[in-house]
């Protein structure tokens, strides 16, 4: 693709409103629970009160006798073939360690029985009458002691790992790997300055406003139809076929509008329950997770402990980074083997002048809620650790942390050994950092300034990268057909979860086909109809599916030209299509798109449609710099957000309004992670963070001001030069805010969240010194 002049673009790089905005702002019934038939059976789950237990007896007779109860299912009713709920391309790296219902309970909240009935009241009543006798077992709750613990989370023999990820269920190990380049120990030993620290990030909830939900029914062909709030419809089809042990052709998955995902819905959290009810009873069924369930039996971010060693020479060249990550996948291995990889592969390559690096990791099973995918997908945790270590290194060297970064940051054209030796063909990280410094007034404010009222303000910095899809894996396909009057149907398998991908893909199509947005109708995902797409995750849609749109449009334009030439009685080489007319350049005769669209519906042997797929051997990273300004109350240690300057290089910005909101939203989530959000368990493994009373996500009073700008590079392999935006945006707040606290109060917090208590205690320690 040639490099376009941005000013020549009509739709790409313009803030086009979302194609579904009107129905969303007027509250139309477009979400899963709005669409579910009113006669759906209500499905609810009886959950384990123990972190680790075996069901010795389960008696459902009294529950079944409650009027209105259709069925009560236990592990005895479910296939004994293990599968994973992770929405990943087959063969999934996540181990096959699940059953729909299992005899072994692996966390407080694990599913023990499924109850389905005609009303909420009947089901609630029946749930209380399911009699379960548990043999309570000792749980593994400390992830630092999980590996090779005599207590096994998955002792079963039919556990299986499909990919070589270093998993071993007899060691509580979900994954293990080591990689590196150069002699890291020798390099670190010869460095003038070395920082050797351990950082701890907690599990976090995506907390999308719409909880997990699904309804299911059998259609006229006896097939299982599944309408679900999911990011991965095609993977859900496979997961349900695996779970129910039925052929894939018996399953159809439809994605309506989704009330947010952030990765949570890249795991098939809710689908299996109504699916088995409908499959067994033939009746429509739905499950709506309560917020409590969504906070206690879902798919949060992996807790990680990260040991970083980083060394530099006396001039400030960072010569080596050594990272070991211990990741807690909880009771099941969804996304365990893959998230951990990003903790090193998306943090170490930020520094472009190293002589050596090493990255090793273990992922362990424990008896807490299973982790999953959350925006950033391990990069967030790794970047908190590596960026915090670099900030500590700067302090040790007496150097401004932005200056240390300017000396070392990765630049365009460099090969990144820790990023699979990919070369950065597009990188404006240097400009991002320079602009963020200007926006915040770094040189004026660094490291801190007194406010005079017992409060002090400090600034802190961090950088980040992510990928654009999974190289060699993610596949997006697109189909476009022309209809009567020449309007187009754009069929995508990528799942708009509120982010606006239906819109930006339509923008690209309108650009390529030189038509207006109104000429394109977008069809959401239906696995029976939509072309295959891995789904919306791994920051893939703009880059991967976007390229599929560009390829499909090129093909369709060729067809339009040839069909138009046929009607004009000339050769296809002689015509030109300008989006409205096909014109014979030799005699000026033309036929309109509208006429072509109508003509092909009569006595035609040519279908005016095209479908193309795209997959990439590389995953071009977007880059960004974030600078936080915080105010600290010296009496209480309370940290308040004042300002956040974020500058992002996502290549060409396809839709400036939607991209800006992605950045602002990601930073607000990152602020939540940095300052408030924490999943707290008691000593028996009970999750205390089970409502928005305990699990506090930021309100509009908690985020300060968030300012966003773009410094675009041009990615030659992306559609119109674009890279991804969705995930990178959550990665800078934790390390930047920690650094601002470090600069303002002299206190270094290495375990998130950065609460007032931790800062206060740190200030007290410092006073003693």
């Amino acid at each position: 693709m040639t490099r376009e002049k941005m000013s020549d673009l009509s739709y790409v790089n313009h803030p086009v409103p979302k194609v579904d905005s009107e129905s969303l702002v007027t509250g139309k019934a477009v979400y899963t629970n709005d669409l579910a038939p009113s006669d759906c059976l209500i499905v609810k789950i009886v959950r384990s009160p123990y972190a680790h237990a075996l069901i010795k007896e389960i008696d459902t007779a009294r529950a079944c006798a409650v009027p209105g109860i259709e069925c009560v299912l236990t592990y005895k009713d479910c296939p004994d073939k293990r599968f994973t709920l992770a929405g990943q391309t087959y063969p999934e790296p996540s181990p096959y360690d699940r059953l729909i219902l299992d005899q072994r309970m692996r966390f407080v909240g694990d599913a023990a029985a499924i109850v389905a009935g005609v009303s909420e009241e009947a089901v609630r009543k029946a749930m209380k009458l399911v009699r379960i006798k548990y043999e309570v077992l000792e749980p593994v709750l400390d992830f630092r002691k999980a590996k090779d613990n005599p207590v096994l989370v998955h002792p079963e023999d039919n556990w299986r790992s499909l990919c070589s990820v270093g998993a071993d269920n007899k060691r509580n190990l979900c994954a293990h790997d080591e990689c590196g380049e150069g002699d890291i120990d020798a390099v670190i030993a010869s460095c003038d300055y070395v920082v050797d620290r351990v950082y701890h990030t907690k599990a976090n909830q995506q907390a999308m406003m719409e909880t997990f939900r699904t309804y299911t029914y059998l259609d006229a062909y006896g097939r299982l139809n599944v309408v679900s709030s999911t990011q991965v419809p095609f993977h859900v089809r496979r997961i349900l076929a695996n779970a129910l042990d039925i052929p894939k052709h018996r399953v159809r998955v439809i994605k309506p509008r989704i009330g947010g995902g952030f990765g949570a819905k890249q795991t098939s959290v809710s689908e299996i329950y109504p699916a088995i009810v409908t499959w067994k009873t033939g009746r429509p069924a739905k499950i709506i997770f309560t917020r409590e369930e969504a906070l206690t039996a879902s798919s949060p971010r992996h807790e990680m402990e990260l040991h970083v060693r980083v060394g530099a020479d006396k001039d400030g060249r960072i010569r080596g980074i050594d990272l070991h990550t211990l990741s807690n996948t909880g009771a099941f291995g969804e996304h365990g083997p893959t998230t951990v990889g990003l903790s090193g592969h998306k943090s170490i390559p930020l520094y472009g002048k190293t002589d050596a690096f090493r990255f090793t990791y273990d992922v362990v099973y424990t008896n807490v809620m299973s982790a999953g995918a959350y925006r950033g997908y391990g990069a967030t945790q790794g970047i908190f650790a590596v960026e915090s270590a670099v900030n500590e290194l700067a302090e040790k060297m007496g150097m401004d942390p932005t200056v240390l970064r300017e000396k070392n940051l990765v630049r365009e054209g460099q090969v990144m050994p820790a990023y699979y030796n990919e070369r950065t063909d597009s990188c404006a990280l240097d400009r991002c950092l320079a602009r963020a410094k200007e926006m915040i007034g770094w040189d004026r404010k660094y490291p801190f300034y007194e406010c005079g009222n017992g409060k002090v303000r400090g600034v802190g910095v961090a950088m980040a990268m992510q990928g654009s899809g999974i190289s060699h894996v993610d596949t997006g396909s697109v189909a476009i057909k022309m209809n009567d009057d020449g309007f187009y149907s754009l069929m995508v398998g990528a799942t708009d979860m509120g982010t606006g991908c239906d819109t930006i893909l339509a923008q690209m199509a309108a650009e390529c086909l030189e038509c207006s947005m109104e000429d394109i109708v977008v069809h959401g995902v239906d696995t029976d109809i939509s072309p295959y797409d891995t789904g919306s995750y791994a920051s893939s849609t703009t880059y991967v599916t976007g390229m599929a749109v560009v390829k499909t449009c090129e093909k369709l334009r060729g067809k339009i030209c040839s069909v138009g030439a046929g009607y004009l009685g000339c050769q296809a080489e002689d015509v030109q299509f300008d989006g409205v007319n096909v014109t014979n350049l030799k005699n000026g005769e033309s036929i309109s798109r509208k006429e072509i669209g109508n003509k092909v519906m009569c006595f035609s042997n040519e279908a005016l449609s095209a479908s193309e797929a795209f997959s990439s051997p590389t995953s071009p990273p977007p880059f960004m710099a974030g600078i936080a300004e915080v105010e600290i109350d010296k009496e209480t240690g309370e940290v308040e957000m004042v300002d956040y300057a974020a500058v992002v290089d996502c290549g060409t910005v396809v839709n400036p309004a939607l991209a800006r909101v992605q950045v602002e939203g990601g930073i607000a989530q990152g602020i939540g992670m940095a300052l408030f959000e924490d999943i707290v368990y008691n000593e028996k493994g009970k999750n205390y963070s089970n409502s928005f009373m305990q699990y506090k996500i930021p309100s509009r009073l908690d985020v300060g001001r968030i300012r966003v700008e773009f410094e675009s590079s041009y990615e030659p392999t992306g559609p119109f030069g674009a890279k991804s935006i969705g995930e990178i945006v959550i990665n800078t707040p934790s390390p930047a805010i920690a650094n601002a606290v470090q600069n303002a109060a002299g206190v270094i917090i290495r375990e998130l969240p950065i609460t007032a208590e931790k800062v206060y205690m740190g200030m007290m320690e410092k006073k003693k010194e």
Partner: protein, 172 residues
Amino acid sequence: MEIRFILNQKQVAVDAAPDAVLMNVLRDLGCKSVKCGCETTNCGLCTVWIDGKSRLSCSVLAAGVAGREVTTLEGVEEEAAEFGRFLAEEGAEQCGFCSPGFIMNVLAMVKEFEERDAASGSGVWDIEEIKEYLAGNLCRCTGYMGQLRAIQNYMAERRGAAEGREMKEVQA
């Protein structure tokens, strides 16, 4: 028990249990804009108006609105669409799941502030005041900045339109 109230300017009578929650009753009556996000009165998604004031319909018994006037987004569709255009211009409706409750509270706020301004003659709206008014409306997608830009643009246009009307009146 039978409960009679006015829903979106129409008299309705529903048969509901004494412990039925207003939110569920409204959804059953077809007001699908009313959403549930938390069950603990933290999120603001279920905001409706009772006698013109914003209330969380998840924490009001249906029996409590007997004889009163309930308004959901379906009842103010035109105003919602008008403000919604500003929201969409910023891309700040995003997933849209919190939009109905948020928009109900924005419209209530604008009405309240404009009435206050009309009484006092002043017209300066403090951003902090706006943020505090809407603090109970959580949003996980936008980071709130785009919502604030939409509100400011919407209010500026309303003020412009009002001033325009005054100008015309003066000219006339």
